[in-house]
């Protein structure tokens, strides 16, 4: 079976298999029809397949009569910011985030700069399935305007939001690895704006990913070794569209991406108390941090769209996922890697602490994440079958299976992007977390054969 995921916020698949010009055009036509002749932004990450999807998207959007602002290669959070700045009705971001080069995707963004919500997404899907796209005659075709001087608008707002004075004074030395993705070169502007010394690695927007563009410890060795040589204060890894961040501490420890959210919560919730949104697979660290600040936590299904919808509905102050995506509505309600890096630098500057010292302040849990292949046709029944393991326990079925107890939890769910079952467990003890995961994997491995 070929891999294609069609969701409310867009489509994702393997280029040449499911991601072909016609499908991209059909979806872009559906989105253009939904936008009803209004202005739309288009941007992409650096993937080699990017131009194919980009040209198809532009052609389709103008055929529906939408005028397009073409941002070229652009990180998703900046596209999301520019939607509001240019008062457009929506945007398409062409990126497969943390997936490897074989993948690409279209993500649809609404006029508020957030991923389409359920209602909007389902409307676009209905138009797609109906196949009746708006077709305008030659005099009404959309026009394409290339926009290239947009970074100033975004960074001006970011500088204002952050305590830029303190960051500048601290004169940090920072290693950033944008993985040759959409953040490449733009991090140069970012460092100038915040006044830190940047030591970049993989900073060419050429679309060749030296490692999977997923910010997590196993991809962090290069950053860690460069940091040692230059004696840097912190290291950051970005995914291909700068929506997720993981950290490397000044002592060379490659930190789990799970730390990014609690680190920020531990600082930001002091300033702005309110509801925190996270997903069922994220570390318990965030719950303990929030509880300590008297902030309620709401847990939702995995995926930026669900987190942000809940953030808006609950009028929350912070949303984030264990995978390193952070949104702060006071700045903008989107997972924003520049905001995340900026806030970490602000925390270090204002509290005058090293990253390793900030980590020590957090409750320490150990998280183990595994995934196992499962044919897409069986995936839901296998997850359902796994409930038998926990016949006597209280099962939370909001997103697969989740069992919690006082020391930790286990979460078994289907991947939103691949034909995989994800098994994630957390415990105060590393061994126990591993045991929780092994128990499920042993049970499932027989079923998926």
């Amino acid at each position: 079976m070929k891999l294609l995921k069609i969701g409310i916020s867009g489509i994702r698949g393997i280029v040449g298999e499911t991601i072909v010009p016609e499908l991209v055009m059909d979806f872009a036509c559906a989105f253009g029809t939904y936008l009803d002749l209004k202005k739309v932004l288009v941007g992409r990450d650096t993937r080699i397949s990017g131009p194919m999807l980009h040209e198809a998207t532009l052609s389709a959007l103008v055929s529906t009569g939408c005028n397009v602002f073409d941002l070229g290669i652009c990180p998703t959070p900046i596209i999301q910011y520019m939607v509001k700045h240019l008062k457009a009705k929506g945007a398409v971001s062409i990126t497969a985030g943390h997936n490897d080069l074989k993948w690409n995707a279209l993500t649809f963004i609404n006029q508020d700069g957030t991923y389409l919500n359920m209602f909007q997404g389902e409307e676009v899907l209905d138009i797609y399935h109906l196949g009746k796209f708006t077709k305008v005659s030659v005099d009404h075709l959309g026009q394409i305007e290339s926009i290239d001087d947009y970074l100033d608008f975004y960074f001006k707002k970011l500088k204002k939001f952050l305590n830029t004075e303190s960051i500048k004074k601290a004169r940090f030395k920072v290693v950033i690895d944008p993985c040759n993705g959409a953040g490449a070169k733009i991090i140069d502007v970012f460092s100038q704006q915040l006044g830190f010394e940047l030591i970049p690695v993989n900073n060419e927007p050429n679309g060749y990913f030296p490692h999977d563009p997923e910010p997590r410890p196993r991809n962090a060795q290069e950053v860690a070794s460069v940091m040692k040589v230059v004696n840097a204060d912190v290291g950051f890894l970005l995914n291909s569209d700068v929506s997720r961040v993981s950290l490397v501490a000044e002592n060379g420890e490659t930190l789990s991406e799970e730390f990014t959210l609690p680190l920020i919560a531990n600082y930001y919730l002091d300033r702005n108390q309110g509801t925190v949104v996270t997903n069922h697979s994220s570390s318990r660290m965030i719950e303990e941090v929030a509880r300590g600040k008297n902030c309620p936590v709401v847990k939702v299904k995995v995926g930026q769209s669900y987190s942000i919808q809940s953030l808006i509905n609950e009028d929350g102050v912070l949303a984030g996922e264990g995978s390193g995506g952070i949104a702060i509505p006071e700045f903008q309600s989107v997972f924003d890697g520049f905001l995340t890096m900026g806030l970490i630098l602000e925390i270090m500057a204002v509290r005058k602490k090293k990253v390793s010292e900030l980590i020590v302040e957090l409750p320490r849990y150990h998280i183990v994440k595994e995934k196992i292949y499962c044919p897409p046709t069986k995936i839901h029944s296998v997850v359902n079958e796994a409930k038998k393991l926990y016949a006597d326990r209280d099962i939370d079925s909001a997103d697969g299976i989740k069992i919690e107890d006082k020391d930790g939890w286990i979460h078994v769910r289907t991947s939103a992007t691949e034909p995989m079952i994800r098994v994630i467990a957390e415990d105060r003890s590393k061994e126990k977390a591993r045991e929780r995961v092994e128990e499920v994997l042993n049970f499932i491995s027989v079923l998926v054969k």
Partner: protein, 457 residues
Amino acid sequence: MRKATSLRISVSGVRGVVGESLTPQLASKFAQAFGTYLGSGNVIVGQDSRKSGTMVRKAVLSGLLSLGCKPVEIGICPIPSIQVLTKQSKAIGAIAVTASHNPKEWNGLKFINKEGLFLNYHQVDEFLDIYHQGEFSLVEVDKYKTPEFKENPTEPHMKKLMSYFNVSLIGQKRFKVAIDCTNGAGAVLAPRYLEELGCEPVLLNCVPDGSFAHHPEPLPENIAGLCRIVVEKGADVGFVQDADADRLAVVNEKGEPLGEELTLALASKYILSQNPGPVVINLSTSRAIDDIAEEFNVPVIRTKIGEINVVEQILSQEEKPAIGGEGNGGVILQDIHPCRDSFTAMGLILEYMAKSGKTISELQESIPRYHMIKEKIQGTQEKAYRIIRQLRKKYSDKGEVSLLDGLKISFKDYWVHIRPSNTEPIIRLIIEAKSRDTAEMMIEFWRKEMSEIVKWK
């Protein structure tokens, strides 16, 4: 009555109406079929100046990229220049986004092989099979190529023109030439070309923005503006190109349009006077060419309609033809490139003027005079077929019948040609007679003959 379809797929490529039949999906699938047919490599992508050019071009780029082809973008470029460039570069083919002389609602794709020639019937068949089967050679990401942009794509064409013509002879005359590019692709080359030939160009509709100040077919009724400019500015000659600059019509120094049939007649007369050889023309081309050929004692070979048919015939002749073309203003000179080329036509006519020392109206006098009337009648292929079948029976013993393309019947003092268009959902009715009266009488007569068979509304 079934509505005539707005999509035409034929030996001349694909044409459709934007907003109806010509969608991004369709353009991309044709590009994929073409790329699959060619195999992977560099594919040149050019366009005429139509406003829908961007939409169609981007769809083509996406389709080519999905196959691992490397698109070489050249922007707005005359069709003959694209053909010359394709032959001289290492590209495996080219796609031109153009609907030639169709109205502005239309756009389309023309497919060019690595020799710089349009696909012939057999190649089109193979290519369409791939399109209909829908199995394209999609590649994985690691075989993807990055698009390239090429500057000055008209240079190879320009060089060929400059080395062929007697530039110093033309230049001595300092001709004042009024040029109407129809806001088409010709505008990127024509003004500079005329200057290089030592002429003084007077520009009309020379911004290639697809605004089409008049209908983009160079017929007398569409070029009143040029006629006026010729008189006002005292130009020696006026030229008008169609939107993709393969066809040319001429206006004399008195501001009178010659009629597009005269373009090839003048060019042929000049070429044959210099270098006699066979002439290859299509079935609808004026008898004037036969008379001129007779004067120089060279044979005339007639082909089906469609540029590639004339070109194939030229390339397959044992004795190298001196010239070829179509009566619609398409002049083909193999020594420059075997394609219709308005720039070649301009050069020939200017060199003829320079060498003979005569004005256009004087040269026009020496061409045998015929009156041709061309009509377009709304109608499908099906209707054309019924008309042709019945009229063929009725007239088989009254004139000389040719079924090479549609139905052509030649009588002593006139001929009639009825055939479905390759590019639009219309039936063409063409009459050519020695006198205007006969032509007008006969067009009435044949229109009636046709309408009795299909009963138009």
